[in-house]
């Protein structure tokens, strides 16, 4: 391209460009580069032409080697939804094993040298994004609408980092096993699981996916409901409200007072009454007074401190619909 030169610098760049172009045009360099490129393209094309082909007999070809006696047997998949031949959406209803592992004739020809088109390990591991894309070719939408850009996606996790398809039952779908899988990464929550006040996660009655969508969602912490408070009241329905006399932080965000995975305080509280309450309530007389060790059972027992503290009287902490409930006592 010819550029009009307004100053010497531009003209110099133009000259440099011409010199660069001359270099590319050299009789040795250019053909050499073309040969290299041709080789690269043809090699790539050759690999692609091998990888792009399906094996001759699909699943039967695979099972000639991947039989029942292998260290990592794969036959269980035929007893799952992935193995239903009558469903055209299912892998066995279309290209068999290669529905998920991609066209792998090259692997069938030279199994130790060529990997399947999509390999989930252990010997070859295809990049996470490619593995995920393969799963997503069938399992898109529904709970996975927000997968792209989600925390687990950005961590380069693939579907098979959590899911197992070559087993009778995917462990992550088993209530008693799911939390253990999550805790392989989420160690803090694993520790909180054993605290004195907790949800029944160890017992498998409340599982991680009761509150969280590991495939991503529109909320922080990937909650399944539109907000934190909606997630909590999906089980604790009686706290949903509305209330005539509201307790504003309770109406806004349950985590202002509670710690959902586990706490040292009763009722999963972050701190206990009266001290938790005194972080926001400092009215004259008893709300502001110092409720210290002089008020213990063996001293001068203090009703603001002992038993349930403030909740000995003010027990409607989530709100009240009683006409005389302004003090959250009725």
């Amino acid at each position: 391209m010819i550029m009009s030169s307004k100053n010497g610098a531009s003209a110099s760049r133009l000259v440099l460009k011409k010199r660069t172009i001359k270099w590319y045009r050299s009789s040795v360099t250019l053909p050499g580069l073309m040969l290299i490129a041709l080789f690269a393209v043809s090699s790539n094309a050759a690999e692609k032409s091998v990888a792009a082909e399906y094996s001759e007999e699909r699943t039967k070809t695979c099972l000639e080697c991947h039989d029942e006696d292998e260290e990592y047997p794969v036959h269980s998949i035929f007893r799952t939804a992935h193995g239903v031949a009558g469903d055209s959406r299912s892998p066995q209803g279309s290209e068999g094993c290669e529905s998920c592992h991609g066209p792998s004739a090259g692997h069938a020809d030279k199994p130790r040298k060529n990997s399947p088109a999509i390999s989930f390990g252990p010997k070859w591991v295809t990049p996470a994004s490619d593995r995920t894309e393969m799963c997503a070719s069938c399992h898109a939408g529904e709970a996975r609408i927000h997968w792209e850009g989600s925390v687990h996606d950005l961590e380069d996790l693939s579907c098979t980092d959590c899911h197992r398809s070559h087993v009778n039952r995917d462990p992550v779908t088993v209530k008693s096993l799911q939390a253990g899988l999550c805790f392989s990464c989420h160690k803090t929550q694993q520790a909180e699981l054993n605290l004195p006040s907790r949800h029944p996660i160890k017992e498998g009655k409340t599982i991680c996916s009761d509150c969280h969508n590991p495939h991503g969602s529109s909320t922080a912490a990937d909650l399944i409901q539109p907000s934190l408070i909606e997630t909590c009241v999906s089980c604790h329905k009686e706290k949903r409200g509305p209330f005539i006399f509201e307790h504003p932080p309770a109406a806004e965000d349950c985590s202002e007072c509670h710690r959902p995975h586990g706490s040292t305080q009763p009722s999963l509280l972050v701190s206990r009454p009266p001290f938790l309450c005194q972080q926001c309530h400092m009215a004259n007389f008893h709300p502001s007074l110092l409720h210290d060790g002089t008020g213990l059972a063996e001293g001068r027992p203090n009703f603001n401190l002992l038993a349930r503290g403030c909740l000995n009287c003010h027990s409607q902490v989530h709100g009240s619909n009683h006409p005389s409930g302004a003090r959250l006592m009725r």
Partner: protein, 756 residues
């Protein structure tokens, strides 16, 4: 329900009996040294498994059995079913299937699920799930009528102005706060095509049992007369969910509708006043009763839309939006249930008729600008609107005195919030699987009836992850936030809750509820830092290690009273050791510490209330020597270890698991000169848990296994709030006299599995 589960458990016992009759189809090859196939892979050949367990628990323990249905001493039967029927591999047309799963049959935590259908066409499921939560069962009460909505005292009850004058030597009833939640769910999904599917779900849930609550009579706020009561829980909830899914190459959508109807059997808990001599005769024992509102019947509806559209392979739009409404249609309780108290002004409204509207909208644009860089721009909006108007309520103080005059009415404050969040996030994919993310969030919240009308928070985030030498992955995150708000209107609650006439009676310098220097922490200015660090080291085929740590810090730098600072950190170290296929073991340790600091000022009312006096002598409200500081320090120490060891390959395995958890909490005070403020520290609160399980698994045949296990559970705790607090320890609170749990439990169990 219980009988049915026991019956099913017995059936399971018979089903596993075939273990003894099963022929050995594996012939002489089973257990052959040349057979290298791990037993766990052999089990994959079976479609179904039944199991049956006989369990013995040595002692009562609500702590051990809090959620597992094993809280009482004795024998238990428990069974599990896992049965499947799928089309055979060579059946090219068949799509029919069913699955039956059941767990904990025989226990009160049993669950059951049946799923069937034609894959790709329709599925239906029926499931039943039972939850059980058991609370501290060491309490006692003189009240009869537990489980109902009326609690009354014995005919020979001796009432008094204080608890130590009451007749507590007589019959007392045990209080066992136990909550059951029984859930039935029916679900049907129809796939109309590869793109369209519709799911309809109906669930019925019943929550029943007993919770603990406190309730009081009072005339003067400094002189309440309270009782800790067992409160009945009996709710039913019917819920319908309809979900329509559309999945195509570029576009995925989900439209859902939810309707939930909560129906509480009880409206009010009535309890007889155990006190006398503190109130007028119509309120004193035996005539006085209190009425405590139980959760209202509520209807909730929500419509929600989620979608994902791919403009191009590198440009995606995600949307999520919902609109919900919660409505109460209950009639209002009266101002008081005591007909002998004078109530002249009627309620401002006949029924609650309150509606709460919630809306949210989320939009995200994900743009892969190159293979190395992704830009994510997000917007989120949340709104909560309480549609009830603000009315003056001439309340009756806790069923204790006549109705307040109009002058002293209190207005309800229907709080509303509106939140917006803007996020920009860039992610760079660097060499060696490294990733760098920089993000910025801007949050704003508008509130009504709040001391702060608007808050804004800026957050800057950085995350970096890198893999070293294919064995070591490191990850670090850090964020800083700064929250600030509009002027803190410390008198907002005072002016919005009282009548004009009442306000005019109060001197100018006393027109506030909370001290003017207090900043409620959810509204207060603050600076926050959050950090996370993780190392994952795959040393070799046998060893791998994980180090995970996180900390958070919040400094409420503008708060003179209230919460001033919180700090938490946790470090987790775990190791897995698998030297061979026969042995796998793990070890983890977790250390956590937390610290909160808060400041208060002890002040009385009247002439001691003013907070703006700057020249001595100071009233209480203005006197900094009336301040007190509380520092609360918590520690958690957890250790876990376990081993799975095949003593004889494919025949005999030993598993052992140990968990140790210790938590401590210290409260220390500091005072600043006021003579009547002692600042005496509280004793340390402590819990210790040891849980050890040892099991022998004997695989008699591939289809039959047995397990013999022993579990040791020890829980020790000290809690100053209830230790030494008898029913009459606090002069004007009739407690349950609970004790901190200190239990040692031994659990033996024998289990059998039959696979087919």
């Amino acid at each position: 329900m219980k009988k049915k589960f026991y019956f099913l458990a017995l059936i399971l016992g018979f089903l596993t009996a075939p273990c003894t009759l099963a022929e050995d189809d594996f012939g002489d090859d089973w257990g052959d040294e040349e057979d290298i196939r791990p037993i766990t892979t052999v089990w994959q050949d079976f479609m179904s498994t039944n199991s049956f367990a006989l369990i013995y628990v040595s002692e009562d323990s609500f702590k051990y059995g809090q959620y597992n249905g094993l809280s009482e001493k004795g024998f238990y039967f428990s069974g599990a079913l896992d049965m499947n029927a799928m089309p055979a591999m060579d059946e090219e047309q068949a799509t029919g299937f069913w699955r039956l799963r059941a767990d904990n049959l025989g226990l009160e935590t049993g669950s059951f699920e049946f799923i069937g259908g034609r894959q790709g066409n329709y599925t239906f499921s029926v499931s039943v799930d039972n939850y059980l939560s058991v609370g501290n069962d060491s309490g006692r009460t003189p009240f009869s009528g537990q489980g109902s909505d009326i609690l009354f005292l014995p005919s020979d009850w001796t009432a008094a102005n204080t608890t130590n004058g009451m007749s507590l030597d007589g019959a007392l009833f045990s209080v066992r706060p136990e909550l059951e939640r029984n859930q039935l769910m029916l679900e049907f999904t129809r796939h109309f095509s590869d793109q369209w599917a519709l799911t309809a779900r109906y669930s019925y849930e019943r929550k029943s049992g007993e919770k603990i609550t406190g309730a009081a009579f009072y005339i003067d706020a400094a002189n309440p007369h309270a009782a800790i009561l067992p409160m009945p829980v009996d709710y039913e909830n019917n819920q319908i969910d309809l979900v329509l899914d559309y999945v195509a190459t570029r576009l995925q959508m989900q439209l859902s509708y939810l309707f939930s109807d909560l129906d509480n059997r009880y409206d009010t808990l009535f309890w007889q006043n155990p006190y006398a001599g503190a109130f007028i005769p119509v309120v004193d024992y035996p005539n006085g009763y209190g009425g405590y509102d139980l959760p209202s019947d509520t209807k909730f509806q929500q419509i929600r839309f989620s979608g994902n559209y791919r403009f191009a392979s590198n440009l995606k739009l995600r949307i999520d939006g919902s609109a919900g409404q919660s409505e109460i249609e209950d009639g209002l309780s009266p101002y008081t249930i005591n007909p002998l108290l004078v109530v002249e002004t009627p309620l401002p409204i006949d029924k609650i008729g309150d509606e709460l509207d919630t809306r949210h909208l989320y939009v995200s644009l994900l743009y892969n600008m190159s293979r190395r860089f992704t830009l994510n721009v997000k917007y989120r909006f949340d709104a909560r609107e309480n549609n009830l108007a603000s009315y003056p309520w001439q309340y009756v103080r806790a069923d204790s005195i006549d109705q307040s005059p109009a002058l002293k009415a209190i207005f309800n404050q229907p709080h509303e919030t509106s939140k917006e969040k803007y996020t920009v996030e860039g992610t760079w994919r660097l060499p060696r699987s490294a990733r760098l993310t920089l993000g910025y969030d801007f949050d704003t919240v508008d509130r009504t009836f709040s001391s702060v009308e608007e808050t804004e928070e800026d957050t800057a985030r950085i995350e970096f992850k890198m893999r070293f030498f294919d064995k070591l992955t490191a990850r670090i995150e850090y964020s800083e936030s700064n929250l600030s708000g509009s002027d803190y209107q410390w008198s907002q609650s005072f002016f919005n809750s009282l009548t004009v006439a009442q306000i005019n009676l109060i001197p100018d310098n006393q027109r506030f509820n909370n001290h003017p220097l207090l900043r409620q922490y959810h509204l207060a200015n603050r600076e926050s830092q959050i950090g996370k660090f993780q190392l994952l080291y795959l040393m070799n085929d046998a060893w791998n290690f994980t180090l995970d740590s996180n900390f958070s810090s919040r400094d409420y730098d503008k708060s003179e009273l209230g919460l001033t600072e919180t700090t938490q950190y946790m470090v987790n170290l775990s190791a897995n050791y698998m030297p061979s296929d026969a042995i796998s073991s793990y070890f983890w340790v977790s250390l956590g510490e937390s610290e909160t600091e808060q400041t208060g000022r002890a002040f009385r009312g009247g002439i001691e209330k003013p907070a703006n006096v700057v020249v001595p002598p100071f009233p209480d409200g203005s006197d900094p020597s009336r301040n007190w500081d509380l520092e609360e320090e918590g520690e958690t120490r957890s250790i876990g270890a376990g081993i799975d060891w095949q003593l004889i390959e494919n025949k005999l395995a030993l598993t052992a698991d140990y968990v140790y958890v210790k938590t401590t909490l210290e409260d220390t005070f500091e005072v600043f000169g006021a003579r009547d403020l002692a600042g005496e520290d509280l004793p340390e609160q402590e819990t210790t848990m040891h849980q050890f399980t040892l099991a022998i698994n004997y695989h008699w045949r591939p289809e039959c296994s047995f397990r013999f296990s022993y579990e040791y559970y020890r829980y020790d705790s000290e809690d100053w709030a209830i230790d030494g607090v008898g029913l009459d320890t606090i002069s004007k609170v009739l407690t349950l006299g609970e004790e901190s749990p200190n239990d040692i439990i031994n659990v033996l169990s024998v289990s059998a599995w039959y696979r087919f």
